[in-house]
Symmetry: none
Subunit: 256 residues, 2 copies
DNA sequence: CCGAATTATGCACGATTATGCACGATTGAG
DNA sequence: CTCAATCGTGCATAATCGTGCATAATTCGG
Protein backbone atom coordinates (compact mmCIF):
# COMPACT_ATOMS: atom_id res chain seq x y z
CA UNK A 1 0.00 0.00 0.00
CA UNK A 2 1.42 3.31 -1.05
CA UNK A 3 0.39 6.54 0.55
CA UNK A 4 0.77 9.94 -1.02
CA UNK A 5 2.50 12.62 1.06
CA UNK A 6 -0.50 14.92 0.90
CA UNK A 7 -2.80 12.07 1.79
CA UNK A 8 -0.67 11.40 4.84
CA UNK A 9 -0.83 15.03 5.90
CA UNK A 10 -4.62 14.96 5.65
CA UNK A 11 -4.78 11.79 7.69
CA UNK A 12 -2.53 13.19 10.39
CA UNK A 13 -4.44 16.43 10.63
CA UNK A 14 -7.82 14.70 10.81
CA UNK A 15 -6.49 12.36 13.44
CA UNK A 16 -5.31 15.43 15.26
CA UNK A 17 -8.74 17.02 15.11
CA UNK A 18 -10.29 13.77 16.21
CA UNK A 19 -8.25 12.72 19.18
CA UNK A 20 -6.54 15.97 20.10
CA UNK A 21 -3.02 14.57 19.88
CA UNK A 22 -0.71 12.41 17.82
CA UNK A 23 2.48 10.65 18.77
CA UNK A 24 5.27 10.73 16.22
CA UNK A 25 6.53 7.22 16.88
CA UNK A 26 3.04 5.69 16.60
CA UNK A 27 2.33 7.44 13.32
CA UNK A 28 5.63 6.30 11.88
CA UNK A 29 4.93 2.67 12.71
CA UNK A 30 1.31 2.87 11.60
CA UNK A 31 1.98 4.58 8.29
CA UNK A 32 5.15 2.69 7.48
CA UNK A 33 7.43 5.70 7.17
CA UNK A 34 10.36 6.84 9.23
CA UNK A 35 9.95 9.13 12.21
CA UNK A 36 11.97 11.73 10.34
CA UNK A 37 9.23 11.97 7.76
CA UNK A 38 6.54 12.25 10.41
CA UNK A 39 8.54 14.94 12.14
CA UNK A 40 8.76 16.87 8.90
CA UNK A 41 5.02 16.50 8.43
CA UNK A 42 4.28 17.76 11.91
CA UNK A 43 6.65 20.66 11.39
CA UNK A 44 4.76 21.62 8.24
CA UNK A 45 1.38 21.33 9.90
CA UNK A 46 2.43 23.46 12.82
CA UNK A 47 3.91 26.07 10.47
CA UNK A 48 0.52 26.21 8.76
CA UNK A 49 -1.11 26.74 12.11
CA UNK A 50 -2.89 23.38 12.16
CA UNK A 51 -1.34 22.09 15.34
CA UNK A 52 1.13 22.77 18.07
CA UNK A 53 4.39 20.88 17.90
CA UNK A 54 5.46 19.32 21.17
CA UNK A 55 8.18 16.96 22.26
CA UNK A 56 7.16 13.50 21.03
CA UNK A 57 4.29 14.48 18.79
CA UNK A 58 1.79 17.27 18.30
CA UNK A 59 -1.35 18.64 19.93
CA UNK A 60 -4.48 20.18 18.49
CA UNK A 61 -4.24 23.83 19.36
CA UNK A 62 -7.00 24.87 21.74
CA UNK A 63 -8.08 27.75 19.48
CA UNK A 64 -8.40 29.82 22.61
CA UNK A 65 -6.07 29.33 25.52
CA UNK A 66 -2.84 29.21 23.59
CA UNK A 67 -3.54 32.45 21.82
CA UNK A 68 -4.66 34.55 24.75
CA UNK A 69 -2.60 37.45 25.84
CA UNK A 70 -2.18 36.19 29.37
CA UNK A 71 -0.56 32.92 28.35
CA UNK A 72 1.78 34.49 25.86
CA UNK A 73 2.87 37.24 28.19
CA UNK A 74 5.09 34.97 30.26
CA UNK A 75 6.89 33.43 27.30
CA UNK A 76 10.21 34.54 25.81
CA UNK A 77 10.08 37.60 28.00
CA UNK A 78 13.58 38.80 27.17
CA UNK A 79 13.05 38.56 23.43
CA UNK A 80 9.88 40.60 23.70
CA UNK A 81 11.60 43.18 25.87
CA UNK A 82 14.31 43.53 23.23
CA UNK A 83 11.69 44.00 20.51
CA UNK A 84 9.94 46.55 22.73
CA UNK A 85 13.14 48.54 23.27
CA UNK A 86 13.55 48.75 19.52
CA UNK A 87 9.90 49.60 18.98
CA UNK A 88 9.74 52.55 21.37
CA UNK A 89 12.47 54.32 19.39
CA UNK A 90 9.71 55.17 16.93
CA UNK A 91 7.74 57.07 19.56
CA UNK A 92 8.22 60.85 19.70
CA UNK A 93 7.54 63.03 22.72
CA UNK A 94 3.85 63.78 23.13
CA UNK A 95 2.88 61.15 20.56
CA UNK A 96 -0.43 59.34 20.43
CA UNK A 97 0.22 55.61 20.37
CA UNK A 98 -2.15 52.73 19.68
CA UNK A 99 -1.44 49.27 21.15
CA UNK A 100 -3.65 46.30 20.31
CA UNK A 101 -3.90 42.98 22.10
CA UNK A 102 -0.50 41.28 21.87
CA UNK A 103 2.05 40.16 24.40
CA UNK A 104 4.74 42.15 22.63
CA UNK A 105 2.58 45.23 23.03
CA UNK A 106 2.36 44.51 26.74
CA UNK A 107 6.14 44.69 26.79
CA UNK A 108 5.99 47.94 24.81
CA UNK A 109 3.56 49.39 27.35
CA UNK A 110 6.27 48.93 29.96
CA UNK A 111 9.09 50.10 27.73
CA UNK A 112 7.60 53.41 26.58
CA UNK A 113 9.76 56.33 27.74
CA UNK A 114 8.65 57.78 31.08
CA UNK A 115 7.13 61.24 31.44
CA UNK A 116 7.08 61.73 27.71
CA UNK A 117 3.58 63.18 27.53
CA UNK A 118 2.35 60.16 25.63
CA UNK A 119 -1.30 59.39 24.99
CA UNK A 120 -1.99 55.69 24.61
CA UNK A 121 -5.05 54.16 23.02
CA UNK A 122 -5.87 50.49 23.38
CA UNK A 123 -8.71 48.02 23.08
CA UNK A 124 -7.11 45.47 25.43
CA UNK A 125 -7.89 45.64 29.16
CA UNK A 126 -4.56 44.17 30.17
CA UNK A 127 -2.65 46.75 28.18
CA UNK A 128 -4.85 49.50 29.56
CA UNK A 129 -4.24 48.26 33.07
CA UNK A 130 -0.48 48.21 32.62
CA UNK A 131 -0.59 51.72 31.16
CA UNK A 132 -2.71 53.23 33.92
CA UNK A 133 -0.41 51.72 36.54
CA UNK A 134 2.49 53.66 35.00
CA UNK A 135 0.69 56.85 35.91
CA UNK A 136 2.63 59.04 33.49
CA UNK A 137 0.53 58.83 30.36
CA UNK A 138 -3.03 59.45 29.31
CA UNK A 139 -4.90 56.27 28.50
CA UNK A 140 -7.89 55.99 26.21
CA UNK A 141 -9.80 52.73 26.21
CA UNK A 142 -11.82 51.58 23.23
CA UNK A 143 -14.78 49.88 24.85
CA UNK A 144 -17.26 47.16 24.10
CA UNK A 145 -17.56 43.44 24.65
CA UNK A 146 -14.14 41.90 25.19
CA UNK A 147 -13.52 38.86 23.01
CA UNK A 148 -12.37 36.16 25.40
CA UNK A 149 -9.91 34.46 23.14
CA UNK A 150 -8.33 37.61 21.78
CA UNK A 151 -8.43 39.52 25.05
CA UNK A 152 -9.60 42.77 23.53
CA UNK A 153 -12.71 44.62 22.40
CA UNK A 154 -12.95 43.96 18.66
CA UNK A 155 -16.69 44.15 17.97
CA UNK A 156 -18.88 46.79 16.40
CA UNK A 157 -18.62 49.15 19.36
CA UNK A 158 -14.82 49.09 19.37
CA UNK A 159 -14.75 49.50 15.59
CA UNK A 160 -16.98 52.55 15.90
CA UNK A 161 -14.75 54.02 18.60
CA UNK A 162 -11.70 53.33 16.45
CA UNK A 163 -13.09 55.60 13.76
CA UNK A 164 -12.89 58.55 16.11
CA UNK A 165 -9.18 58.36 16.83
CA UNK A 166 -6.12 59.10 14.71
CA UNK A 167 -3.00 57.69 16.38
CA UNK A 168 0.42 58.90 15.28
CA UNK A 169 1.73 55.39 15.53
CA UNK A 170 0.11 51.99 15.68
CA UNK A 171 1.85 48.90 17.04
CA UNK A 172 0.22 45.78 15.61
CA UNK A 173 0.69 42.39 17.16
CA UNK A 174 0.88 39.67 14.53
CA UNK A 175 -0.35 36.11 15.03
CA UNK A 176 1.61 35.16 11.96
CA UNK A 177 3.91 36.86 9.48
CA UNK A 178 4.73 35.41 6.10
CA UNK A 179 6.19 36.88 2.93
CA UNK A 180 3.24 35.74 0.83
CA UNK A 181 0.36 35.83 3.32
CA UNK A 182 1.47 39.06 5.00
CA UNK A 183 0.40 39.84 8.55
CA UNK A 184 -2.29 37.41 9.69
CA UNK A 185 -4.51 36.85 12.74
CA UNK A 186 -6.35 33.94 14.33
CA UNK A 187 -9.77 35.62 14.37
CA UNK A 188 -11.72 37.28 11.61
CA UNK A 189 -12.95 40.18 13.73
CA UNK A 190 -9.50 40.68 15.19
CA UNK A 191 -8.07 40.92 11.69
CA UNK A 192 -10.76 43.44 10.69
CA UNK A 193 -10.09 45.54 13.74
CA UNK A 194 -6.34 45.56 13.21
CA UNK A 195 -6.85 46.61 9.61
CA UNK A 196 -9.22 49.38 10.61
CA UNK A 197 -6.96 50.84 13.29
CA UNK A 198 -3.97 50.64 10.99
CA UNK A 199 -5.81 52.61 8.34
CA UNK A 200 -6.50 55.56 10.63
CA UNK A 201 -2.95 55.60 12.01
CA UNK A 202 -0.21 57.73 10.52
CA UNK A 203 2.32 54.91 10.65
CA UNK A 204 2.06 51.19 11.46
CA UNK A 205 4.82 49.17 13.10
CA UNK A 206 4.63 45.38 13.34
CA UNK A 207 6.94 43.76 15.89
CA UNK A 208 7.25 40.05 15.07
CA UNK A 209 8.75 37.41 17.35
CA UNK A 210 10.74 34.67 15.67
CA UNK A 211 8.15 31.99 16.42
CA UNK A 212 5.62 33.93 14.35
CA UNK A 213 7.96 34.24 11.41
CA UNK A 214 7.00 32.30 8.29
CA UNK A 215 3.76 31.05 9.83
CA UNK A 216 0.37 32.06 8.54
CA UNK A 217 -2.82 32.33 10.59
CA UNK A 218 -6.22 32.02 8.87
CA UNK A 219 -7.16 35.69 8.52
CA UNK A 220 -5.26 38.32 6.65
CA UNK A 221 -4.66 41.71 8.22
CA UNK A 222 -2.43 43.45 5.70
CA UNK A 223 0.54 43.09 3.40
CA UNK A 224 3.99 43.32 4.89
CA UNK A 225 4.68 46.13 2.44
CA UNK A 226 1.85 48.18 3.93
CA UNK A 227 3.58 48.34 7.32
CA UNK A 228 5.84 51.32 7.86
CA UNK A 229 8.29 48.89 9.40
CA UNK A 230 8.51 45.27 10.51
CA UNK A 231 10.66 44.67 13.59
CA UNK A 232 12.28 41.25 14.01
CA UNK A 233 14.51 39.73 16.63
CA UNK A 234 18.27 39.44 16.36
CA UNK A 235 18.07 35.67 15.88
CA UNK A 236 15.58 35.74 13.01
CA UNK A 237 16.93 33.65 10.11
CA UNK A 238 18.48 35.72 7.36
CA UNK A 239 16.50 33.99 4.63
CA UNK A 240 13.26 35.04 6.31
CA UNK A 241 14.40 38.63 6.44
CA UNK A 242 15.39 38.43 2.78
CA UNK A 243 11.97 37.03 1.86
CA UNK A 244 10.23 39.82 3.77
CA UNK A 245 12.35 42.47 2.04
CA UNK A 246 11.58 40.96 -1.32
CA UNK A 247 7.88 41.27 -0.43
CA UNK A 248 8.41 44.98 0.03
CA UNK A 249 8.79 45.17 3.80
CA UNK A 250 11.08 47.59 5.59
CA UNK A 251 12.58 45.08 8.00
CA UNK A 252 14.49 46.32 11.04
CA UNK A 253 16.50 43.81 12.98
CA UNK A 254 16.85 44.25 16.74
CA UNK A 255 20.17 44.83 18.37
CA UNK A 256 21.39 41.78 20.25
CA UNK B 1 -1.06 4.83 27.10
CA UNK B 2 1.77 7.27 26.78
CA UNK B 3 1.35 10.90 27.58
CA UNK B 4 3.28 13.64 25.88
CA UNK B 5 5.10 16.12 28.12
CA UNK B 6 3.32 19.06 26.53
CA UNK B 7 0.00 17.29 26.86
CA UNK B 8 0.67 16.80 30.54
CA UNK B 9 1.39 20.49 30.98
CA UNK B 10 -1.92 21.36 29.32
CA UNK B 11 -3.76 18.91 31.54
CA UNK B 12 -2.21 20.26 34.71
CA UNK B 13 -2.89 23.82 33.72
CA UNK B 14 -6.53 23.14 32.89
CA UNK B 15 -6.97 21.20 36.09
CA UNK B 16 -5.53 24.21 37.83
CA UNK B 17 -8.04 26.50 36.17
CA UNK B 18 -10.93 24.21 37.08
CA UNK B 19 -10.25 23.35 40.68
CA UNK B 20 -7.98 26.18 41.77
CA UNK B 21 -5.24 23.91 43.10
CA UNK B 22 -3.25 20.78 42.36
CA UNK B 23 -1.25 18.49 44.63
CA UNK B 24 2.07 17.24 43.31
CA UNK B 25 1.86 13.78 44.84
CA UNK B 26 -1.65 13.19 43.46
CA UNK B 27 -0.68 14.28 39.98
CA UNK B 28 2.37 12.02 40.02
CA UNK B 29 0.31 8.98 40.95
CA UNK B 30 -2.49 9.86 38.57
CA UNK B 31 -0.30 10.54 35.55
CA UNK B 32 2.17 7.77 36.19
CA UNK B 33 5.29 9.88 36.41
CA UNK B 34 7.63 10.66 39.27
CA UNK B 35 7.04 13.59 41.57
CA UNK B 36 10.26 15.10 40.30
CA UNK B 37 8.72 15.43 36.88
CA UNK B 38 5.57 17.01 38.30
CA UNK B 39 7.69 19.41 40.30
CA UNK B 40 9.52 20.41 37.13
CA UNK B 41 6.19 20.90 35.36
CA UNK B 42 4.84 23.09 38.12
CA UNK B 43 8.07 25.07 38.14
CA UNK B 44 7.68 25.70 34.41
CA UNK B 45 4.05 26.71 34.72
CA UNK B 46 4.77 29.11 37.53
CA UNK B 47 7.69 30.58 35.59
CA UNK B 48 5.25 31.21 32.75
CA UNK B 49 2.91 32.93 35.15
CA UNK B 50 0.21 30.27 34.93
CA UNK B 51 0.17 29.38 38.60
CA UNK B 52 1.71 30.03 41.97
CA UNK B 53 4.04 27.39 43.30
CA UNK B 54 3.38 26.36 46.91
CA UNK B 55 4.68 23.68 49.23
CA UNK B 56 3.15 20.40 48.07
CA UNK B 57 1.55 21.61 44.86
CA UNK B 58 0.41 24.76 43.11
CA UNK B 59 -2.45 27.26 43.17
CA UNK B 60 -4.26 29.19 40.50
CA UNK B 61 -3.15 32.75 40.94
CA UNK B 62 -5.88 35.33 41.50
CA UNK B 63 -6.50 37.31 38.35
CA UNK B 64 -5.74 40.56 40.12
CA UNK B 65 -2.20 39.43 40.87
CA UNK B 66 -1.07 40.83 37.54
CA UNK B 67 -2.11 44.27 38.62
CA UNK B 68 0.39 44.89 41.43
CA UNK B 69 -1.90 47.61 42.75
CA UNK B 70 -3.90 45.14 44.78
CA UNK B 71 -0.95 44.53 47.05
CA UNK B 72 0.30 48.08 47.06
CA UNK B 73 -2.85 50.03 47.70
CA UNK B 74 -4.54 47.40 49.79
CA UNK B 75 -2.96 46.70 53.14
CA UNK B 76 -6.25 45.25 54.27
CA UNK B 77 -6.29 42.52 51.64
CA UNK B 78 -8.00 39.99 53.86
CA UNK B 79 -10.67 42.45 54.98
CA UNK B 80 -11.50 43.24 51.37
CA UNK B 81 -11.59 39.56 50.50
CA UNK B 82 -14.08 39.02 53.33
CA UNK B 83 -16.25 41.88 52.06
CA UNK B 84 -15.99 40.42 48.57
CA UNK B 85 -17.11 36.97 49.74
CA UNK B 86 -20.16 38.59 51.30
CA UNK B 87 -20.81 40.74 48.23
CA UNK B 88 -20.83 37.93 45.69
CA UNK B 89 -23.70 36.23 47.52
CA UNK B 90 -25.90 38.81 45.84
CA UNK B 91 -24.90 37.60 42.39
CA UNK B 92 -27.22 35.11 40.70
CA UNK B 93 -26.22 32.72 37.95
CA UNK B 94 -26.06 34.44 34.60
CA UNK B 95 -26.30 37.89 36.15
CA UNK B 96 -24.99 41.11 34.63
CA UNK B 97 -22.73 42.84 37.14
CA UNK B 98 -21.24 46.32 37.13
CA UNK B 99 -17.97 47.01 38.97
CA UNK B 100 -16.52 50.50 39.17
CA UNK B 101 -12.99 51.52 40.14
CA UNK B 102 -12.31 50.44 43.72
CA UNK B 103 -9.92 48.05 45.39
CA UNK B 104 -12.82 46.22 47.00
CA UNK B 105 -14.28 45.69 43.55
CA UNK B 106 -10.97 44.21 42.44
CA UNK B 107 -11.39 41.69 45.24
CA UNK B 108 -14.95 41.05 44.07
CA UNK B 109 -13.70 40.43 40.54
CA UNK B 110 -11.62 37.57 41.95
CA UNK B 111 -14.34 36.31 44.25
CA UNK B 112 -17.18 36.02 41.73
CA UNK B 113 -18.30 32.39 41.42
CA UNK B 114 -16.58 30.52 38.60
CA UNK B 115 -18.36 29.35 35.46
CA UNK B 116 -21.53 31.10 36.50
CA UNK B 117 -22.29 32.62 33.09
CA UNK B 118 -21.75 36.11 34.46
CA UNK B 119 -21.46 39.22 32.31
CA UNK B 120 -19.36 41.94 33.90
CA UNK B 121 -19.36 45.59 32.95
CA UNK B 122 -16.68 47.97 34.14
CA UNK B 123 -15.10 51.32 33.39
CA UNK B 124 -11.83 50.48 35.17
CA UNK B 125 -8.99 48.90 33.17
CA UNK B 126 -7.58 47.04 36.17
CA UNK B 127 -10.90 45.45 36.94
CA UNK B 128 -11.40 44.61 33.27
CA UNK B 129 -7.95 43.04 33.15
CA UNK B 130 -8.61 40.88 36.21
CA UNK B 131 -11.93 39.80 34.76
CA UNK B 132 -10.56 38.86 31.36
CA UNK B 133 -7.79 36.85 33.01
CA UNK B 134 -10.43 34.72 34.72
CA UNK B 135 -11.60 33.61 31.31
CA UNK B 136 -15.00 32.40 32.47
CA UNK B 137 -17.13 35.51 32.10
CA UNK B 138 -18.05 37.99 29.41
CA UNK B 139 -16.50 41.39 29.97
CA UNK B 140 -17.83 44.69 28.65
CA UNK B 141 -15.60 47.71 28.93
CA UNK B 142 -16.98 51.23 29.05
CA UNK B 143 -14.39 53.18 27.11
CA UNK B 144 -13.02 56.69 26.94
CA UNK B 145 -10.19 58.66 28.51
CA UNK B 146 -9.10 57.06 31.77
CA UNK B 147 -8.89 59.52 34.66
CA UNK B 148 -5.44 59.03 36.16
CA UNK B 149 -6.35 59.57 39.77
CA UNK B 150 -9.55 57.54 39.72
CA UNK B 151 -8.21 54.83 37.45
CA UNK B 152 -11.34 54.57 35.36
CA UNK B 153 -13.10 56.11 32.39
CA UNK B 154 -15.55 58.62 33.85
CA UNK B 155 -15.88 61.25 31.12
CA UNK B 156 -18.58 61.98 28.58
CA UNK B 157 -17.81 58.92 26.48
CA UNK B 158 -18.11 56.55 29.43
CA UNK B 159 -21.28 58.28 30.59
CA UNK B 160 -22.77 57.84 27.14
CA UNK B 161 -21.84 54.14 27.12
CA UNK B 162 -23.31 53.73 30.60
CA UNK B 163 -26.69 54.80 29.28
CA UNK B 164 -26.77 51.76 27.01
CA UNK B 165 -26.43 49.12 29.72
CA UNK B 166 -28.78 47.91 32.43
CA UNK B 167 -26.86 45.80 34.97
CA UNK B 168 -28.70 43.53 37.39
CA UNK B 169 -26.31 44.50 40.15
CA UNK B 170 -24.03 47.46 40.62
CA UNK B 171 -21.17 47.29 43.13
CA UNK B 172 -20.16 50.83 44.05
CA UNK B 173 -16.83 51.58 45.65
CA UNK B 174 -17.20 54.37 48.21
CA UNK B 175 -14.48 56.91 48.98
CA UNK B 176 -16.46 57.81 52.08
CA UNK B 177 -19.65 56.68 53.79
CA UNK B 178 -21.46 58.74 56.39
CA UNK B 179 -24.95 58.67 57.84
CA UNK B 180 -25.62 62.31 56.91
CA UNK B 181 -23.47 62.78 53.81
CA UNK B 182 -24.27 59.37 52.33
CA UNK B 183 -21.91 57.72 49.83
CA UNK B 184 -19.29 60.22 48.65
CA UNK B 185 -16.41 60.38 46.19
CA UNK B 186 -13.20 62.38 45.79
CA UNK B 187 -13.92 63.57 42.26
CA UNK B 188 -16.94 65.32 40.84
CA UNK B 189 -17.01 63.37 37.59
CA UNK B 190 -16.49 60.12 39.46
CA UNK B 191 -19.48 60.91 41.65
CA UNK B 192 -21.61 61.75 38.63
CA UNK B 193 -20.63 58.53 36.93
CA UNK B 194 -21.37 56.40 39.99
CA UNK B 195 -24.77 58.06 40.30
CA UNK B 196 -25.53 57.46 36.65
CA UNK B 197 -24.59 53.80 36.67
CA UNK B 198 -26.48 53.21 39.88
CA UNK B 199 -29.62 54.70 38.36
CA UNK B 200 -29.65 52.28 35.45
CA UNK B 201 -28.91 49.27 37.66
CA UNK B 202 -31.63 47.09 39.16
CA UNK B 203 -29.95 47.02 42.56
CA UNK B 204 -26.95 48.82 44.05
CA UNK B 205 -24.64 47.31 46.66
CA UNK B 206 -22.03 49.42 48.45
CA UNK B 207 -19.25 47.48 50.19
CA UNK B 208 -17.57 49.80 52.69
CA UNK B 209 -14.28 49.11 54.46
CA UNK B 210 -14.03 50.27 58.06
CA UNK B 211 -11.52 53.01 57.25
CA UNK B 212 -14.12 54.66 55.01
CA UNK B 213 -16.82 54.55 57.66
CA UNK B 214 -17.99 57.89 59.07
CA UNK B 215 -15.82 59.86 56.65
CA UNK B 216 -17.12 62.10 53.93
CA UNK B 217 -15.42 62.94 50.64
CA UNK B 218 -16.25 66.20 48.83
CA UNK B 219 -18.75 64.97 46.26
CA UNK B 220 -21.99 63.22 46.98
CA UNK B 221 -22.94 60.11 45.04
CA UNK B 222 -26.18 59.05 46.72
CA UNK B 223 -27.96 58.57 50.02
CA UNK B 224 -27.25 55.44 52.01
CA UNK B 225 -30.99 54.72 51.91
CA UNK B 226 -30.86 54.58 48.10
CA UNK B 227 -28.49 51.61 48.17
CA UNK B 228 -30.13 48.22 48.13
CA UNK B 229 -27.63 47.20 50.77
CA UNK B 230 -24.49 48.50 52.47
CA UNK B 231 -21.93 45.83 53.36
CA UNK B 232 -19.58 46.49 56.29
CA UNK B 233 -16.79 44.53 57.90
CA UNK B 234 -17.13 42.44 61.03
CA UNK B 235 -15.09 44.96 63.05
CA UNK B 236 -17.16 48.03 62.13
CA UNK B 237 -18.22 49.87 65.31
CA UNK B 238 -21.79 49.15 66.34
CA UNK B 239 -22.65 52.84 66.70
CA UNK B 240 -21.74 53.44 63.06
CA UNK B 241 -23.97 50.59 61.97
CA UNK B 242 -26.79 51.98 64.11
CA UNK B 243 -26.37 55.45 62.59
CA UNK B 244 -26.45 53.97 59.08
CA UNK B 245 -29.62 52.05 59.86
CA UNK B 246 -31.20 55.16 61.29
CA UNK B 247 -30.45 56.89 58.00
CA UNK B 248 -32.44 54.21 56.24
CA UNK B 249 -29.65 51.92 55.10
CA UNK B 250 -29.99 48.14 54.93
CA UNK B 251 -26.65 47.33 56.56
CA UNK B 252 -25.24 43.81 56.30
CA UNK B 253 -22.33 42.91 58.51
CA UNK B 254 -19.74 40.43 57.18
CA UNK B 255 -19.14 37.12 58.85
CA UNK B 256 -15.84 37.09 60.69
C1' DC C 1 10.79 9.94 -24.65
C1' DC C 2 14.64 12.12 -22.06
C1' DG C 3 17.29 14.93 -19.02
C1' DA C 4 17.10 18.45 -15.46
C1' DA C 5 15.00 20.30 -11.60
C1' DT C 6 12.22 19.65 -7.72
C1' DT C 7 10.44 16.98 -4.04
C1' DA C 8 10.19 13.25 -0.76
C1' DT C 9 12.48 10.04 2.01
C1' DG C 10 15.75 7.66 4.91
C1' DC C 11 20.06 7.62 7.45
C1' DA C 12 23.90 9.26 10.34
C1' DC C 13 25.45 12.38 13.66
C1' DG C 14 25.65 15.57 17.35
C1' DA C 15 22.56 18.46 20.16
C1' DT C 16 18.66 19.00 22.97
C1' DT C 17 15.10 17.51 26.07
C1' DA C 18 12.78 14.60 29.40
C1' DT C 19 12.99 11.64 33.16
C1' DG C 20 14.21 9.17 37.36
C1' DC C 21 17.29 8.65 41.15
C1' DA C 22 20.38 10.01 44.89
C1' DC C 23 21.69 13.35 48.16
C1' DG C 24 21.49 17.13 51.16
C1' DA C 25 18.74 21.33 52.27
C1' DT C 26 14.38 23.34 53.41
C1' DT C 27 9.75 23.53 55.04
C1' DG C 28 5.88 22.99 58.04
C1' DA C 29 3.10 20.38 61.41
C1' DG C 30 2.88 18.60 66.03
C1' DC D 1 12.42 21.04 69.06
C1' DT D 2 11.68 16.81 66.15
C1' DC D 3 10.54 14.50 62.25
C1' DA D 4 8.52 13.47 57.99
C1' DA D 5 7.31 15.45 53.76
C1' DT D 6 8.83 18.25 50.19
C1' DC D 7 12.19 20.63 47.54
C1' DG D 8 16.38 21.71 44.62
C1' DT D 9 20.43 20.12 42.33
C1' DG D 10 23.56 17.25 40.00
C1' DC D 11 24.00 13.30 37.29
C1' DA D 12 23.05 9.30 34.18
C1' DT D 13 20.19 7.46 30.71
C1' DA D 14 17.06 7.29 27.10
C1' DA D 15 14.10 9.40 23.90
C1' DT D 16 13.56 12.90 20.64
C1' DC D 17 15.08 16.56 17.64
C1' DG D 18 17.53 19.19 13.86
C1' DT D 19 20.67 19.19 10.14
C1' DG D 20 23.39 17.73 6.40
C1' DC D 21 23.69 14.47 2.89
C1' DA D 22 22.68 10.76 -0.31
C1' DT D 23 19.19 8.38 -2.85
C1' DA D 24 14.79 7.51 -4.94
C1' DA D 25 10.50 9.37 -6.83
C1' DT D 26 8.04 12.87 -9.23
C1' DT D 27 7.43 16.81 -12.23
C1' DC D 28 8.30 19.46 -16.13
C1' DG D 29 9.96 21.41 -20.40
C1' DG D 30 11.52 20.27 -24.56
Amino acid sequence: MTMLPGERLDLISSRLQDTGKVIAADLARELGVSEDTIRRDLRDLSARGVCERVYGGALRLPASAATTLSKRAGQSVEAKAALAREAVKWVDEGACVFLDAASTNLAIADALPRDFGITCITNAPQIASALTLRGDCDVVVLGGLVNRTVGAAIGAEAMQAARNVRPDICFLGACGADAQAGITAFHAEDASFKRAISEVSAITIAPVTTEKIMTAAPFKVMELADCTAVLVEADTPENAVAAFRKAGADVRRCAQ
